[in-house]
Symmetry: C2
Subunit: 79 residues, 2 copies
């Protein structure tokens, strides 16, 4: 099993990729989700974990399904 910090880094990279693919700044995502931009930056840098409500807000704000935020490649890091 990949350790938690590796998983969070992978999750954060994916989050940043999705946000950038939507041409959205961290500040814009903050405004859409009410997740503070400093917290979004920590998430994107893999410095912080997150709980269900934050996952739901990110999916809603980015207009994506849970599979895109949490793809099988990340699930498979758990062994």
């Amino acid at each position: 099993m990949a350790d938690k910090s590796e998983i969070l880094i992978k999750f954060g990279q994916n989050l940043r990729n999705i946000r950038e693919s939507k041409k959205m700044t961290v500040q814009q995502l903050d405004a859409l989700t009410a997740i503070d931009h400093s917290e979004i930056s920590k998430l994107e840098n893999g410095k912080k974990s997150l709980e269900l409500m934050t996952i739901l807000k990110l999916c809603k704000g980015l207009q994506i399904k849970a599979d895109q935020l949490i793809p099988s490649t990340i699930i498979d890091m758990i062994d």
Copy 2:
């Protein structure tokens, strides 16, 4: 926006439905995920939130994608 407790109840009902559809007991899911059965019961009853690592363990243990554990109907409860 539905409040957090309503969202957790909906999430828990969905988790229980998935587990039961797999003909799995809470104890079997505990053994597969290393999430204590008492915590699984709390999750199924909407009494507890959960963070990313637990979501990943549940997806892996139940052999499902994130969309099934966190369907759009739950994401849409965030407004």
